[in-house]
Amino acid sequence: MGSELEQEVIRAQAGDREAFIRLLREVESSLYTLARAIVKQDEDSADAIQETMLKAFKSLHTLRSPEYFKTWIIRILVNECNRIIKMRARTVAVAEFPDLCAVTKDYENIDLREAIHRLDDTLRIVIVLHYLDDIPLKQVAEILDISEGAVKNRLHRARKILLDLLQNPVERKIGYEMC
């Protein structure tokens, strides 16, 4: 697959649009899984993916090593997701509350999915990239433009928090999260 992918990238860079679309089809479910885990909503995921694909198309010529196509496009996706998260945080005005599901002050056991959703964005992103898409630490570092050490650090902190959340019943919170 390695060199086949590279060949497709080279064709795409030479102007073959169909080759580029084939590349996108290869990665589209990865992109969706990642986007959804990061931005947590389907509508926003669709936005992120569309922006990512168009940006990738326009800047394909800047990709110098074809074998890094997947890492490269995931990086674009992560940036788009971050952009969306930031915009979302800004647009929820203080005076206005989003629709929420019923809030209770129950203590409950949550599963990992819920726990991950409660994580800080930066921590959630490393968990999602490394554990959901099985991206090796080195590539996660490249995607996020941080050092491998920083990635390990974030993963370590995230795991600690997640374990803590899983092991101890938590109060359900009100937040920007959807149900």
Binding site: A14, E28, S29, Y32, I49, D111, L112, I116, N168, P169
Partner: protein, 376 residues
């Protein structure tokens, strides 16, 4: 506190996340594919792997050769100074000029090692121009182009070759007042040729080009009395990391004493200087060629088994003071990263109607190539 198996939870989570794409996302993605299909093709990334025969500057491939000979830190990688790049754009057909030349000149052309110059002369409505020069420390290659207001019947190569009624090509190359050796190459283009100049460093009292000098060139064209004269500024513009070895290896066999005096290897040329001392009274007849010359030819093979392609040679034939006969042999540049070269002298033996190569194993010489920069 709840008992938690983190890895188990991870698996469950992964499964729950790998859901089928919802309609809103699926249709958005398909929409995007449609949009891309109808968009204008993005700026094409020029890849060195593709043989690009455009004029002007291209991202040049850094051959393995270039990396080893030019040193890891000098990543040539197609770097061409903006000034040169600008001028290269003005020279028509530069890319196609070297198609018929040896691999070394082709490499030089592709790597932008030909520097534009502007030396021209006009006679009888014909203008000859030395338009670019390359000097790698071993050979000087000059592109000569012709312009004329009238239509000309013959190609420039023919016009130069026929100058002396086909006897010899007329050109004269002078360096510091002394006559240098040279050669003429047909490019396949009607109005362009390549003239090569070499110094006489292999001769006993020969001269060696410096890194920067002027060459005086005089060319004759058929049908025009006056010679075209140029002063060509030459600068060694191949990065200064190439081997010059003075192995001084000698071997003797059947009254032939062969010495490999010098090897020069640049990204454009491989050159060997060989000296052969022979007492013509003692040397077996099979080694003798008419006129007191030796019948010797040479093959060059690297330690990877590859034969380095011969381009041409020149030599001195007189041996009045028993100094030996000098040969200077030009080969294509080395390919890959050979660690050694073997020189294999041979003669042609006539077997009735057939001629066969007979290698002289006793005179075979192997030189290991020093990968460090060596001084000239």
């Amino acid at each position: 506190m709840r008992c938690v198996d983190f890895d188990d939870e991870l698996e469950k989570w992964k499964e729950s996340e790998s859901v089928r794409m919802p309609k809103v996302v699926r249709s958005r993605i398909d929409e995007t594919y449609k949009e891309i299909s109808s968009m204008e093709a993005p700026p094409a990334y020029s890849r060195s792997a593709r043989p690009v025969r455009k004029r002007g500057v291209k991202a040049a491939a850094v051959s393995a050769l270039a990396i080893t000979l030019l040193g890891a830190s000098v990543v040539v990688s197609g770097y061409i100074s903006p000034a040169v790049a600008q001028s290269l754009e003005r020279i028509p057909l530069l890319g196609s000029l070297f198609q018929k030349q040896d691999a070394g000149l082709q490499i030089a052309g592709e790597h932008g090692l030909f520097t534009p110059v502007d030396a021209s002369d006009t006679h009888d409505g014909v203008t000859l121009k030395v338009s670019s020069v390359m000097y790698d420390g071993v050979r000087v290659s000059m592109v000569v182009q012709r312009e004329s207001s009238v239509e000309l019947e013959t190609t420039l190569y023919e016009a130069m070759s026929n100058h002396n009624q086909g006897n010899t090509v007329f050109f004269d190359i002078t360096y510091e007042g002394q006559s240098m050796g040279g050669g003429l190459s047909d490019t396949g283009e009607r109005d362009a040729v390549i003239v090569t100049a070499e110094d006489t460093g292999y001769e006993k009292d020969g001269v060696i080009f410096s890194d920067k000098f002027n060459l005086f060139l005089s060319l004759g064209l058929e049908g025009i009395d006056e010679p075209f004269e140029f002063m060509v500024p030459v600068v060694k513009n191949v990065p200064d990391n190439y081997h010059i070895l003075k192995p001084g290896i000698s071997k003797t066999y059947e009254h032939l004493e062969m010495t490999l005096q010098r090897i020069a290897a640049t990204p454009v040329t491989t050159e060997l200087d060989i000296n052969v001392k022979a007492d013509m009274n003692e040397v077996p007849e099979k080694y003798q060629a008419a006129g007191g010359f030796l019948n010797l030819d040479y093959e060059l093979v690297d330690d990877l088994g590859k034969t380095v392609k011969f381009i041409g040679g020149r030599g001195s034939s007189s041996d009045e003071e028993n100094e030996g006969v000098y040969s200077r042999l030009k080969f294509e540049p080395l390919d890959g990263d050979p660690k050694a070269l073997t020189l294999k002298p041979y003669i042609y033996i006539r077997n009735g109607e057939e001629t066969a190569k007979e290698y002289i194993k006793e005179l075979e010489m192997t030189v290991s190539l020093d990968t460090k920069k060596a001084a000239r």
